[in-house]
């Protein structure tokens, strides 16, 4: 088998050591039993955590008494129908839409971007906001960057907006801001969440101290964790220890990427370009300050100011009856599991998703469909 000869690869592989992972899982079993009640329920608010949990098969080694709930941590899933519709309308109007690959199959009211592409729309998949700018430089046609993702990703969009961009480039922001939605989840009356696992990469930007006020207010512990199997398991061990000891505080278990104050340079750029605005998160609720939108001084880059976007022409169809049955919202709030949805695996499959949870590679339903939720393998 080919060797991974590059030094950085070796460092990263240390965080995937199977023997250490199993030992950490055993430690997790021990602290979970010590809590004294079952199940112990904690929530992660990061799709990449779920992605890693699924990819490495961690659910098959988690202790039975531990319930790790997937929270609203997938920006693709929570992007609302009208936001997708805006991009679809702009594509229909002949604009080139540059989008991250994640957004292509997210259903809008009438179409997804992939549907728009099948019907002749020009959709380009980009890997970086900077590539969307390059795309605009290489054409005289208008290029709209459909900017999705949480604050970590919005930072890149901000950097691009602050740089030199050609006149045919604009931004359609569907960026979301995660801290407000944690408040909403923590305040849900049925909430059984005893602790939160926070996303390491977002915290690399915001710093871990941002969670201190949250912990104080809701009296639940928060642990910042990375994304390798050992990172996640160690993060869970620490979180359950805090639950067991009844000591709600913030712990940073990802010091190689997260500092107390985060990346101040990135924060400065983020808030120079974006402001928060309330808005609907698909399936969750109206989230005050949950959306990131371009500030007025960047109106010249804002696709919403530059182009008339008439969504009504998409709404000749009644919203699908299926979407009324979909329980994505309850699933993302940690109140329900995909297997309890009447559509799961039947009308709603990755090829033709009804709810957004089935679309994104980090959507709860898609991950369960692909990797099996609690498989007896």
């Amino acid at each position: 088998m080919p060797e991974t000869a590059v030094p950085s690869a070796v460092d990263e592989l240390k965080f995937r050591d199977p023997a250490k992972a199993r030992a950490l899982a055993a430690a997790l079993g021990k602290v979970t039993r010590e809590v004294g009640h079952a199940p112990v329920s904690v929530m992660h608010v990061c799709g990449s955590h779920e992605q890693a949990i699924a990819k490495f098969g961690l659910r098959t080694i988690l202790p039975k008494g531990l319930n790790v709930i997937m929270g609203p941590g997938c920006p693709v899933c929570v992007t609302d129908l009208p936001e997708v519709d805006e991009a679809v309308v702009l594509a229909q109007d002949g604009k080139i839409i540059a989008s991250y690959g994640d957004m292509l199959k997210v259903p809008g009211t009438a179409q997804s971007l992939a549907d728009a592409q099948a019907l002749g729309g020009r959709i380009e998949v980009v890997y970086s906001a900077a590539q969307a700018v390059e795309l605009a430089r290489d054409t005289t046609d208008d290029v709209v960057f459909f900017a999705s993702g949480f604050e970590t990703t919005a930072v890149a969009t901000a950097a691009v907006a602050l740089g030199d961009v050609p006149p045919n480039f604009s931004i359609l922001s569907a960026h979301k801001y995660i801290p407000p939605v944690m408040e909403i989840v923590a305040e849900m009356p049925d909430s059984r969440v005893e602790g939160f696992l926070a996303a390491g990469h977002a915290a690399a930007i915001t710093g871990w101290k941002i969670f201190e006020r949250f912990v104080e207010k809701h009296r639940v512990p928060v642990v910042v964790a990375g994304f390798e199997p050992l990172d996640i398991l160690a993060g869970l061990v620490k979180l359950i220890e805090l639950v067991r000891d009844g000591t709600p505080r913030v712990e940073n278990m990802f010091p190689r990427c997260v500092t107390p104050d985060g990346n101040r340079n990135a924060q400065r750029q983020l808030w120079r370009v974006f402001r928060t605005q309330g808005g609907r998160w698909r399936g969750i609720a109206h989230v005050p300050n949950g959306n990131l939108r371009l500030r007025d001084e960047f109106a010249h880059l804002d696709a919403r100011s530059r182009y008339p976007i008439d969504l009504r022409r998409l709404w000749t169809h009644a919203p699908s009856a299926l979407t009324q049955v979909c329980i994505c919202g309850e699933i993302m709030a940690g109140l329900n599991a995909p297997e309890n949805c009447p559509l799961f695996g039947k009308e709603c499959v990755p090829e033709s998703p009804v709810g957004a949870c089935m679309v994104s590679s980090e959507g709860t339903c898609k991950i369960w469909y692909q990797y099996g939720g609690h498989p007896e393998l």
């Binding site: 088998m1 991974t4 590059v6 950085s8 690869a9 460092d11 990263e12 240390k14 199977p18 023997a19 250490k20 199993r22 030992a23 950490l24 055993a26 430690a27 079993g29 021990k30 990061c46 799709g47 990449s48 941590g73 997938c74 920006p75 991250y100 890997y127 970086s128 906001a129 900077a130 590539q131 993702g149 970590t152 990703t153 930072v155 890149a156 901000a158 950097a159 995660i178 996303a199 390491g200 990469h201 977002a202 690399a204 930007i205 990375g226 994304f227 050992l230 990172d231 160690a234 620490k238 278990m253 010091p255 190689r256 990427c257 990346n263 101040r264 340079n265 990135a266 750029q269 980090e362």
Partner: protein, 98 residues
């Protein structure tokens, strides 16, 4: 939420770095990283931007932290049993024939 990949900086040209991601090279923008970056440094890349310079010693520190968690758990008989099982298990590289 955000796919972050660590890589090693090979070359810096202004606001752009050429970064080696375990054998794949790609340009990464340095607009948002909050520390000066030089060849040999490790960075965390997200959507083509370096969002954090990773101090190499802290990789070791994190691993030491996990070792400590394990040592704490070592006193538990259950954990020791599991460790025994791991030691007895066939080595993964041998595949299913082992």
């Amino acid at each position: 939420m955000c796919l972050g990949v660590p890589g090693r900086v090979l070359e810096v040209r202004g606001q752009t770095a050429v970064v080696d991601f375990f054998g794949v090279r790609r340009e990464t923008r340095l607009d948002v990283v909050d520390e000066p970056v030089a060849p040999g440094d490790y960075i965390l890349n997200h959507v083509g931007f370096a969002i954090r310079k990773i101090p190499t010693p802290e990789i070791g520190e994190t691993l030491a932290l996990y070792e400590m968690l394990l040592r704490e758990a070592e006193h538990d008989i259950m954990a020791a049993d599991v460790r025994g099982e791991i030691d007895a298990a066939p080595v993964a590289e041998d595949g299913p024939d082992a």
